[in-house]
Symmetry: C2
Amino acid sequence: MLSNACKYAIRSILYLAINSSEDNKIGVKVIAEELETPQPFLAKLLQQLTRDKLVSSTKGPNGGFYLDSKNRKNAIWDVIISIDGTGKFDNCFLGLAKCDDRNPCPVHFIVAPFKDKILDSFRDKTIDEYVVEIKNTNRVISLKDLDLFEDEES
Amino acid sequence: MLSNACKYAIRSILYLAINSSEDNKIGVKVIAEELETPQPFLAKLLQQLTRDKLVSSTKGPNGGFYLDSKNRKNAIWDVIISIDGTGKFDNCFLGLAKCDDRNPCPVHFIVAPFKDKILDSFRDKTIDEYVVEIKNTNRVISLKDLDLFEDEES
DNA sequence: ATAAAAAAAGAGATTCTTATCTTAAACTCG
DNA sequence: CGAGTTTAAGATAAGAATCTCTTTTTTTAT
């Protein structure tokens, strides 16, 4: 459904939304470590996102990537378009060239509502709103913030 | 979510379930044409499915692929395992190594119910049952049985 | 025998992912 | 101001996975 590249990109954007600011820019190295993604690959993705004005960056000491208030008004959907292009999402789950409500594949009516829901989430919500939701509901975007419950014995 | 290979395989199985029998074996060439898939690639997939006893085949004149009654008791899920292996389906939508109800990614609770539903459909239903459903509800597995409504003017 | 078809193996192409290296910009400090 | 350091940007290409095609072999029916 989404390429690895796109998944990395989405997580990076969310990471930056949560952790960065104009006064706190973050280098690729740190982002890659935090999200456990291949560093050079991520660098390329961030460049792409920067070209498309989805993230901001400055070079030099204390430089790095960050989201300004404008960037935060974009949606996850914009990231998907920037990295994967629009096509992948709309494809039929079984690979039919033409599959829609009128000529549905055997699983079309299982897949369609799901796509609607996740599109709602990706397209109609700004990054800002997304972050609020993530914080309120305690969501996870890297292994680092895992809540493992391993040795609780209180 | 599924590789192209797997999508081809699923559609082939359904095609064979609907159109073939022990007395009516179907060659790769025909299947590939009907489903509009690359022929040699499909051949390889059908061989794999045959090795895993998901489809039956005989060589020689009047030979071809078909489903016997045993094959028809399998599920789509078996096809997925045979072609893609089990992994792909269970992966987190955002690529997190560990994403579950306890440590959910930001879209986990959107994706999870969908996965449950489609797993129900793929795992708990035999090919036979699937075909009944397809016939009853007029589903499409190739471009050939498209119901185009293009020039209706009755 | 001969012809038809799957089985098998592998070559080629394309796309996706990751890595390396060079260049350019921006800040820091003397 | 100017040299040096830091960091992103960009170019290139290596590696891996996926997809497609070709050729040869084996089996089976007639």
